[in-house]
């Protein structure tokens, strides 16, 4: 089996310690949480670091899901399985149930964290698409204090984020508003594979019309893609198959997939549309069912 190049291992006991280590070690250090993206890359020697800072002991501090009236706050060390098992989170955002069942596999989900997923910034990563869909904001902490950035600001390109070398993503905030639901669909070649295309949708109704709608697509561009034009198209209109087909067409034409082993560009554009249509329809159905 392949093995990583030599590095020094350090363990942070709390957020302050982690930031202290990052400040001291600079860009030669990398944080490891679940490790399921980072360690394989290090084993294949696609990534090498002098120091690895283990932040799993921060789970006590940053492993939480807190529901307030206007938002849900999730600690960055919250593990996939904890997201999947959080009744209040799933009640507010069923998209997490949909997504978490198709992310990697259950054993990986025991270790992988929300923060780690977002910081990996893989364009195919599912929770990034979920957070884009839900208009999440990310709380980044450094020694100078905290700052809050939107998902659009957080991801700066494939595998690049707004988190500085001496900073730590500590929390994700999801705004809550009534009258909505959410859904996620992923097409993959096989369970556990990265998405060919995946799509999240969140939609809020006001009486018979759509008050707000958001879509987040993965694997169809350099970052997970939210398409604001879809919200503009849908707002104020009554949901219908035809309207969602139109939204799908907008998704197909607005994304920028490339042909690879997972599929042709044409197919991915088709999927962007098809999954947009499906997830929006699921949102409406869920609102009607009260879930």
């Amino acid at each position: 089996m392949q093995v990583p190049a030599p590095f020094e291992y350090a363990r942070a006991g709390n957020v302050a310690e982690a930031i202290g280590l990052l400040e001291r070690l600079g860009s030669s250090a990398k944080l490891v949480a679940g490790g399921h993206s980072l360690l394989p890359m290090m084993k294949l020697r696609l990534a090498n670091f002098e120091y690895l800072i283990d932040i799993n002991d921060l789970h006590g501090e940053l492993g939480y899901i807190t529901v307030a009236s206007d938002q849900i706050r999730i600690g960055a060390m919250t593990r996939h399985r904890e997201l999947l098992e959080s009744a209040p989170l799933l009640a507010a955002f069923p998209i997490f149930r949909d997504a978490e069942h198709v992310i990697a596999d259950p054993v990986v989900r025991n270790r992988g964290t929300l923060g780690g997923s977002l910081c990996q910034a893989d364009p195919s990563e599912d929770l990034s698409a979920v957070c884009t869909t839900l208009d999440a904001s990310c709380v980044i902490q450094g020694s100078g204090g905290q700052r809050v950035v939107s998902m659009a600001e957080f991801h700066r390109g494939p595998y690049e984020t707004a988190v500085g070398d001496d900073e730590l993503l500590i929390e994700i905030r999801l705004p809550l508003r009534a009258g909505g639901s959410s859904a996620y669909e992923k097409v993959e070649r096989r369970a556990g594979d990265w998405a060919v295309v995946s799509c999240g949708a969140a939609l809020w109704m006001d009486g018979g019309t759509i008050a707000e709608a958001r879509v987040g697509l993965a694997a169809v561009g350099p970052n997970t893609t939210g398409i604001p034009a879809i919200g503009e198209l849908l707002r104020g209109k009554a949901p219908s198959d035809e309207l969602f087909r139109e939204a799908g067409a907008l998704a197909s034409s607005s994304c920028s997939p490339v042909t690879d082993l997972r599929g042709t560009e044409e197919y991915k554009r088709h999927l962007a549309g098809e999954l947009t249509r499906r997830t929006l329809s699921t949102c409406v159905a869920r609102i009607k069912q009260g879930v």
Partner: protein, 158 residues
């Protein structure tokens, strides 16, 4: 660096490199070769062990990350000469052929039954979906886990 953890109930302390993977620590350092490895990328699941009671892929955990934690491997399942019902189920239902994925499958199945004593076929399949078996085609693994579940249910009622 030095690392200390509990493996199958016994404390161990060893000198290791920071980069040593838990699977190599178990296999090469502690000579617990029941845990296998089959890929470089956390896809095959032959390396599954428990860390603090949860199945993890030990090829993607540093031995240092297991420091202070409780690790359990397939060698720790049999208690006082009595097989775990999951182990027995795999024999009864032909849930293995070459035996290479078997320890990982058994560890995951045991954890599943601890949380869900009566899983459906679908739940069993999802639980083992991060682990590849090239021999059995999975049907007999599903049967094996169900055999263990039924056996344990019968034990409880009797």
């Amino acid at each position: 660096m030095q690392v200390s953890m509990t493996v199958n109930g016994a404390p161990v302390t060893e000198e290791i490199e920071g980069r040593m993977l838990l699977v190599h620590f178990l296999r090469d350092q502690l000579r617990l070769t029941g845990t296998h490895w089959g890929c470089d990328t956390s896809n095959c699941g032959t390396c599954v062990v428990w860390m603090d009671g949860e199945p993890v892929k030990s090829c993607t955990v540093l031995a240092a990350m297991a420091g202070g934690r409780e690790v359990r491997t397939v060698e720790g399942l049999e208690q006082d000469g009595v097989l775990d019902p999951v182990q027995q189920g795999f024999m009864e239902c032909h849930g293995l052929q070459c035996g290479f994925c078997t320890p990982g499958m058994i560890m995951t199945a045991r954890a599943l039954l601890d949380r869900n004593p009566d899983p459906s076929d679908g739940e069993i399949r999802e639980a083992i979906s991060g682990q590849i078996c090239r021999c059995t085609g999975y049907t007999t693994i599903v049967r094996s886990v169900k055999w263990a579940a039924a056996y344990e249910a019968a034990q409880v009622t009797s």
